[in-house]
Amino acid sequence: MELIQQTVNALSIGAIYALIALGYTMVYGVLKLLNFAHGEMFMLGAFFSYWLIAQVVGSSETLSFLQFVGIGLSILFSCLLVGLVAMLLERIVYRPLRGKPRLSPLLGALGMSIVLQNVVQISVGPGIFAYPTLFGSTRIEIGGIGINRTAIVIIGLSVALMAALQVFLQRSRTGVRIRALAEDHEIARLIGIEINKPIAAIFFIGGALGALGGVLYAANYGVMQFSMGTIVGLKAFTAAVLGGIGSVPGAVLGGFLLGLLETFAAGLLPKLTGGLIGTEYRDVVAFAVLIVVLIFRPSGLLGRPEGTGEASDKKDF
């Protein structure tokens, strides 16, 4: 019973990691850029939706049907808004730094992360905000097991969106272009593919998915803070590396794996060590597993090994 409960918890946090990891992995796949400001998209998603939902709900005790619709639209709208913020970041920070040494955009990303955190901290304050439990805390009985409704929404929504993203990348023509860019950025440019629009699309999609991760995370744990993007962003980045950075299915796999590892490590550690090591060590376990994976499979689980005669290594035309 408890095992299933734990699994559900693991899958819901894993789904959130996966949603955020997608943004890291897509940007890295195309630009070879570690977008460390991506964790802030997660944070902005929570804050934007919080504000929008507050406008919709106001002070009413019970919600009308229209207000439910309004909440849904608020979430959608905040994701789109954050997507635009991510595009803006690309336009004003990363695009001018494209083609410069790799360290420059990386530092740009770190800088933007600090800027965004501080903007939020100054505008709303450094405190912890209570986020509404959007999807209710009622348990739904499935086969005698009570499952939190929020968990169902998180897992269902994430899996649906990740499937949609995969279809988009595999089937649509923008998707084909994005994959061409990811394979060989330079050649795509030289055969005449306009690269700025697909790159903007990647930032938009990544930002919007990250924002949704923020909404779901805040709704699940009931809290949000300006600095929430740092640690969760780092975990999602870990998930992306674990799955193989640059690989979209890898990010999803990495996200769920990290969620499972963390949750079961937290659950099992006190039992195995007789209470010597408590649940607070779950991050240690998660990152230790990451290190082990990187030692034996440096390119991650589904990643392609770098530097093995790939086209991107050839520098002349």
């Binding site: 023509r173 923008t174 061409a180 795509a188 030289l190 629009k197 035309f317």
Partner: protein, 281 residues
């Protein structure tokens, strides 16, 4: 003004090295124009300049009288300049059809929302796209393997796919950078036939090739570059008889056979003596 690609006083320096100096050439539609010359003569550099891979150090390039100097590569592609690469560069994990699809130049981004949110429209577009891609692949007898990934193709097919990708944009200028390199005799012959079939009144084809046999057979006009400068210009017969060219390649006249043999084996990288006392055209 008639369709023509013009290099006017084009020069390119890499540091102190003048890869191309003061080059004036015209490429005309309807024919195959070859650019030949010893290694390091500046042939690929000329393509890279026209394709926007790097900026010119001086001069200008015109297409139809329009200045296309310094345009970004995607704008050049939109104005009809297309190319293949000396080192084969394909999207290894993508299928042949996707290679062609990715090059299609229509105003696609407006269709994206429809494609993403309305599956029937997306399916319809996908079917149409695939049909168009297949038509292009069919010209190179690649349609049967349209769903194979590039990494699984044999070398000869990879070369063909690169040319197919270059003509997928319906170019007005097609640069082919050593399309026969690495092909065997039979494949080279077949490729020659395909290139001849590509000729059309509104397409400028520029061929860079070391296989002199192929160049002489296919070309209507030949430019000879030597040390970044134009050495000779004429029909294949004129070039064969040009003593300057023979001197530049070999140092001794009347040795076309040796020239052919040496140029064909690219690995042996001909020991080229620089022609002294050569008169520049």
């Amino acid at each position: 003004m008639a369709l023509v690609l013009q290099f006017r006083n084009v020069s390119k320096k890499f540091g102190a090295l003048a890869a191309i100096s003061d080059l004036n050439v015209d490429f005309k539609p309807g024919i195959i124009t070859s650019v030949i010359g010893p290694n390091g003569a500046g042939k690929s550099t000329a393509i890279n300049l026209a394709g926007g891979a790097y900026p010119l150090s001086g001069g200008a390039i015109f297409l139809d009288g329009r200045d296309i100097t310094g345009l970004p590569p995607y704008k050049l592609a939109q104005s009809g300049v297309s190319r293949t690469f000396q080192n084969l560069r394909l999207f290894e994990d993508m299928t042949l059809i996707e290679h062609i699809e990715v090059c299609e130049l229509t105003r696609t981004f407006r269709q994206v929302p429809l494609e993403v949110f309305w599956p029937p429209a997306a399916r319809r577009m996908a079917v149409e796209r695939e049909k168009r891609a297949m038509a292009v692949l069919d010209k190179f007898d690649l349609a049967g393997i349209g769903h194979v990934r590039a990494r699984d193709l044999p070398y000869g097919h990879r070369k063909l796919l690169e040319i197919a990708r270059a003509i997928a944009v319906r170019p007005r200028v097609l640069f082919l950078d050593e399309p026969a390199a690495g092909l065997n005799f039979k494949e080279t012959r077949a490729l020659g036939e395909r290139l001849l079939a590509l000729r059309s009144p509104d397409l400028i084809i520029v061929l860079i090739e070391h296989d002199m046999d192929m160049v002489m057979r296919l070309s209507d006009e030949i430019y000879v570059l030597h040390q970044g400068r134009l050495l000779a210009h004429g029909t294949p017969d004129q070039i064969k008889g040009n003593t300057d060219v023979q001197t530049a390649y070999l140092g001794s006249p009347n040795d076309h056979q040796a020239l052919q043999a040496a140029a064909r084996t690219r690995e042996s990288r001909v020991r080229i003596r620089t022609g002294e006392g050569v008169t520049w055209h």
